[in-house]
């Protein structure tokens, strides 16, 4: 349904050296799928989300590549065409989405604004729809008459999710929807979200830094590092069959809370500076399986048994040829 082809995003800077936050990303999102996008802060995962939603200002950023939604390339559309597409086909819930409500309007009014802009419905049918959505996110429909400040953080985030679903979009991009909330609220929102996705069959791109969380909700996981997708696999196999050293190291940071003995692990080093681009594999300086070729040649994302992986370790043939 959504195809991203060779997407590059470079933030321009005054010094002239741009920061390439997304570097040649290719993937697709089929209908009715729950796709997780994981990476550390600064790896470009939010930029990728913005890039897909067409939220990047072309004056300040260099964007190249294609984002094709239902056969339409988003980057060839006019502003007006994009406006009609948003909410109806694609909606976004941002990290601080719960603080994006207008503080002086009732929740109800904010839903109605969106619906008015896109359709011609009677007020009563809109109110019915709002009630239906709020119950879907397990809130009392009566809160539609409240102002945003009367709701707790978790309630606001639920409302933001409900709002994103108001016009039956095909794809919802959720950028760190639970990061500002604590674990208990996070758990209940995540349960609610995966239930909702199963019933309503829209597609979700779930962006998060927390691999543990993504593994629980998503049915496919993409791991991003320094602007590139390094591994792309079904969630059910990535636990046992992670191939990229970064994914392995990231999984090592999680422990089973039910284990008899626990010890925490980290990944030594820090992600590379993306100013002026990266030569070779961006993970090479932190990688424990590093080879000479990793510093000179950027590994491409290639098919492996269960999915896709970008690492020289799994392309032995090519390495020896060189």
């Amino acid at each position: 349904m959504l195809e991203v082809k060779d997407l590059w995003v470079t933030y321009k800077s005054r010094s002239g050296i741009g920061v390439s936050a997304v570097r040649g990303v290719d993937f697709d999102i089929p209908d009715n799928s729950f796709l997780g996008l994981v990476g550390e802060s600064g790896c470009g995962k939010s930029t990728l989300g913005f890039g897909i939603a067409g939220l990047l200002d072309p004056k300040r950023n260099d964007v190249s590549g294609k984002v094709i939604l239902d056969g339409q390339d988003l980057y060839t559309l006019s502003k007006e065409q994009l406006r009609t597409l948003r909410w109806e086909k694609l909606s976004v819930v941002l990290q601080g989405g719960m603080n994006a409500f207008n503080p002086v309007l009732k929740i109800k009014q904010q839903f109605i604004d969106v619906m008015r802009a896109h359709s011609n419905q009677s007020t009563s049918s809109m109110v019915d729809r709002i009630a239906e959505l709020l119950s879907a996110v397990q809130l009392d429909p009566r809160i539609m008459d409240s102002y945003p400040h009367e709701l707790s953080g978790g309630m606001k985030q639920r409302t933001a999710i409900a709002l994103s679903l108001v016009l039956h979009p095909r794809l919802v991009i959720l950028d760190e929807p639970t990061t500002a909330l604590d674990v208990v609220v996070q758990r209940s929102i995540i349960n609610m979200l995966s239930e909702l996705q199963r019933l309503q069959k829209f597609s979700v791109l779930f962006i998060s830094h927390d691999l543990g969380l993504v593994l629980e909700v998503a049915n496919r996981v993409m791991v991003m590092y320094s602007g590139q997708i390094v591994e792309d696999k079904p969630a059910s196999v990535i636990m046992d069959d992670a191939q990229h050293p970064y994914t392995k190291a990231l999984l090592g940071c999680y422990v089973n809370p039910h284990a008899e003995n626990v010890s925490l692990k980290g990944i030594p080093g820090t992600p590379p500076d993306l100013r002026g681009g990266v030569q070779g594999c961006p993970f090479a300086p932190r990688c424990s399986f590093v080879m000479d070729v990793c510093f000179t040649k950027t590994p491409q994302l290639v098919k492996c048994e269960n999915g896709l992986v970008a690492c020289h370790l799994y392309r032995q043939d090519e390495v020896t040829v060189e």
Binding site: E40, N191, L215, T270
Partner: protein, 339 residues
């Protein structure tokens, strides 16, 4: 040797007086007739070289306790003893002296550093102000501290400003500043929740190393049960200002008995959940956190007399609504629940 084994080694050595003791601490914030109980009859003690974790979700009163311990706020009733000091009634000129001994590590390393100050200046300042060291001595000490927290190579970091450093490096600087004048107690308020998972372990191990090498006590405030289990010797679980469970960390976290602790534990994102399907998802059993507004009021009324968790508890009984269950059990594991 694993960290746990080292911890138990320390615990066998210490039979000294506690470094900090909270007795019956209650803190009520009032505003125009509306009052919020942020702490209710909280008791716990911190022994030298020990780590005590305060665990709870947002609004459970854990940061309020940090403010009470560091003397930023004063309790409504109860006493806080730190050595010979009665913290609850310290005057402001004594507070400065007190803060030589008690330091704080803040949650947000992006907001708690002055962006104008270099790394060296940030560490030298407490050394000059609190310990009265000469310029040269303070500089040498600061370089030593930078090595301790691994802000190395020192020459490279010395003149950097916060914006030139990564989140993990900044948090190391916040830690360096806190341990500069060798405090006996450090209060760490969610020190790793703003950091990426891959660098969290590093910072936690640094805190653990410091308390072992400098015999520093730590109050570790977190909502993350796992890191509490790794780092802490003792755990105090808070819910709406009430202590609902407390005791030795591996005992409490491995065998939580209070329904709230069980809820917290089952909420941890667990990629291994898929693997052991037989483990039941207890999270589903609990009533939703996001209750309608009308019910919130009812909850506040409940908290005045009965168990504060009653409105969310799947095992609620009549007497839970009437009186708050007392903490019962042995020294290693206390629980406030009738069940």
């Amino acid at each position: 040797m694993s960290m746990k084994q080292m911890n138990s080694k320390i615990s066998s050595q210490n039979t000294e007086k506690p470094i900090l003791e909270l007795k019956d601490i209650t803190k009520i914030f009032s505003n125009r007739g509306h009052s919020t109980t942020a702490a209710q009859n909280v008791n716990f003690r911190v022994d030298p070289g020990k780590v005590v974790a305060l665990v709870g979700e947002s609004g459970s009163g854990k940061s309020t306790l940090a403010k009470l311990i560091t003397g930023i706020e004063r309790p409504t009733s109860g006493s806080i003893n730190f050595g010979e000091w009665a913290v609850e009634s310290l005057r402001s000129r004594n507070l400065r002296e007190y803060r030589k001994h008690v330091q704080m590590i803040f949650q947000d390393p992006f907001a708690s550093l002055n962006p104008h100050n270099t790394v060296l200046y940030t560490i030298v300042r407490p050394l000059r102000k609190h310990l009265g060291l000469s310029k040269q001595d303070a500089r040498n000490r600061a370089i030593h501290i930078m090595e301790t927290v691994r802000l190395t190579p020192v020459e490279q970091f010395m003149d950097k400003k916060p914006h030139q450093m990564s989140g993990g490096q900044r948090q190391r600087l916040v830690i360096a500043r806190a341990i500069a004048c060798e405090p006996e107690l450090v209060v760490a308020d969610e020190p790793v929740s703003m950091l990426d998972v891959s660098i969290r372990a590093d910072v936690l191990y640094l805190i653990d190393e410091l308390r072992r090498t400098q015999n520093m006590s730590v109050i570790y405030i977190t909502h993350d049960m796992l890191s509490a289990r790794v780092l802490a010797d003792e755990v105090v679980v808070l819910y709406r200002g009430h202590v609902v469970e407390q005791g030795r960390s591996d005992e409490v976290i491995k065998h939580p008995t209070h329904p709230y602790t069980q809820l917290l534990f089952s909420s941890i994102p667990n990629p291994y959940r898929h693997k052991n399907k037989e483990s039941v998802d207890t999270g589903q059993k609990f009533a939703e956190f996001d209750v309608p507004i009308e019910m919130k009021v009812a909850q506040d009324m409940v908290s005045n007399s009965g168990c504060p968790f009653a409105s969310r508890c799947p095992f609620v009984m009549d007497k839970c609504l009437q009186t708050m269950p007392p903490l019962t059990g042995n020294q290693d594991h206390l629980t406030a629940c009738y069940r």
